[in-house]
Subunit: 405 residues, 2 copies
Amino acid sequence: MDYTGFFRSELDRLRLEGNYRKFAELERHRGRFPVANCHNGPGEVTIWCSNDYLGMGQHPKVLSAMHEALDRTGAGAGGTRNISGTTHDHVILESELADLHNKEAALLFTSGYVSNWAALGTLAARIPNCVVLSDALNHASMIEGIRHSRAQKVIWKHNDLADLEAKLAALPPEQPKLIAFESVYSMDGDIAPIAAICDLADRYGAMTYLDEVHAVGLYGPRGGGIAEREGVMDRLTIIQGTLGKAFGVMGGYIAASAEICDFVRSFASGFIFTTALPPALAAGAAASIRHLKASSDERAAQQARVAQVRARLDEIGLPHIENPSHIIPVMVGDPVKCKFISDMLLREHGIYIQPINYPTVPKGTERLRITPSPVHSQRDIDRLIAALGTLWARCQLARQPLAAQ
Amino acid sequence: MDYTGFFRSELDRLRLEGNYRKFAELERHRGRFPVANCHNGPGEVTIWCSNDYLGMGQHPKVLSAMHEALDRTGAGAGGTRNISGTTHDHVILESELADLHNKEAALLFTSGYVSNWAALGTLAARIPNCVVLSDALNHASMIEGIRHSRAQKVIWKHNDLADLEAKLAALPPEQPKLIAFESVYSMDGDIAPIAAICDLADRYGAMTYLDEVHAVGLYGPRGGGIAEREGVMDRLTIIQGTLGKAFGVMGGYIAASAEICDFVRSFASGFIFTTALPPALAAGAAASIRHLKASSDERAAQQARVAQVRARLDEIGLPHIENPSHIIPVMVGDPVKCKFISDMLLREHGIYIQPINYPTVPKGTERLRITPSPVHSQRDIDRLIAALGTLWARCQLARQPLAAQ
């Protein structure tokens, strides 16, 4: 077997398909984000595609909590949670998270990916004869977790209550069921009908697992997510979230009953056999959560920027998916043009927006996924709209009919 | 289905079996490690079971690199590696790691667990008809990665060259093969015959995947691990390591050819769909690696402490596994006594050593896994030996015959 030849030909195939990824090498400047230095690009750029949705990654409270924890305790945790790696900062953070979602307990993981993979994988594998009802657009980490469990999986049409109900009704009433879905879907920015899904779960005796990674910190009076905003947190069996997006740090978690957190803690390989998060990350995340529980300024500013960018896109007729979230997918619909526009934005305008192509989104729906944030200025918005307008013309892309002026 | 009842009964079963884990809640004090405050225990304790093997988690160079990066760039990376999350600090760290192992490239993951799971899972799944030859005592993360791949798996007896060869010889010569093993095994502290395994790999046309998580930073003139010490790094296809043990921070990686790193980077779900490590962690890890490339003082001091603890255990006849590594498994051989000694060490002597029971180790081999480090003082060693001697007597545990004095 010519291993190297195999790897080369697979990589060549990716290149031919236009799916080979080159990473932009960025260096953010604290206090100047969304500006960053692009080391393998044109130098200074403005980032418009970050998941540090509120700029909390440079919030003074977050940074000072991290500095303080580094000075107090040092760098790493030095072990798994069971073998010397549980620190006071982890325990405090888990308590903040339980409080955020009004659940009995929370359990930390090293990432949102690992929390989905490990929690879903463990629950679905260990509950005898469990069937997972998985939304068709669930994130890769959920899909891999369910796959890893080897449990029966039933995929229901994205956000489609009738299809979910049909699939629930077709299963034996006594079979254990777990409905897995997200609140805000990352690529389209649409939002699940959480309460109605909980109604179905109640009716058919299912547990619910809600991924709120694109919503925690961003929605609800205390940043508890869409479920908090809609007053349904108590109806969900498990809420999963991340510390690496709106909270600006890193890590993932579930919040649930004491029994469920203890069960996953006790049986999940991906939780047990891995070094714990550094205490400084836990301290930074706790500071971020605490701040966003008390302050809605960042959420309000973000929503205002989002509305403004949408309105400005509409003014020049650029097509974008109408959705009720903070994610603005500007639709290009062609992989080559999508990549070209992204390249030109970077090179000629100092604007960084990663193109989103297949397989992340279906072919024909290639897009620029824009995430306006409180840290973007009016001038940033003006420059973004001007650059997009210019490139849209250059690529001869269709525009939406403009509203009567 | 009574879900809560199910979770409760599973947890009760763990309690009955003596396998229910309670985590010690620790707060380390920078500059005073291995001393920590045990919030749910007796207050101040000395940690003897940390995987921060060299105390690099509180090294001034590591901490100042982390402080500097926090001040320079902020907290989190804000995205996946592909979508705004690749920072200058990641690129520098990957270059340090490639250099450490004298490989063309390296690829970072959020943890050692994820690096094993994602790299092995991707290689074994994507190489057509690949068979993985896995050492019987491989770590959970490797086992889960291989399992996830659904590739054919052949388990060979731990560190047994004859068995490995027999299993290689029984496979079709043209079938792609990947031999997965560790250098230092965490629970027994024994070391694989790396060169001889590479000989077999060459003979049978297999790739090799070596997990060096308990060796990087600790062995070899520049801390490249056992493979560096034995001059065989170039013979291994893939070397995997961690930034969370001897390097004192968090994260995992593989080092390999440019093609292999690019292949895993391009296809591994657990790499692609997860938020990148915070730049401050990358900066801290790079500083740690750089220091340990140039300084062997920490390695020498650790080896001296290990030899001293072994000699002192021998003096009082306490049984421990003779091995050529820094890990000292003191054998209790009874789960209840093992837990009792650990509890008494903590409560009465302020010494924290987590008991290692089944399923982590086989029944009848329950142990205290001791990891001496340069930060343990002579007084720490005196206290450890005195406490163990007292408790050994109290539990009426057998001693080794003493050498003639």
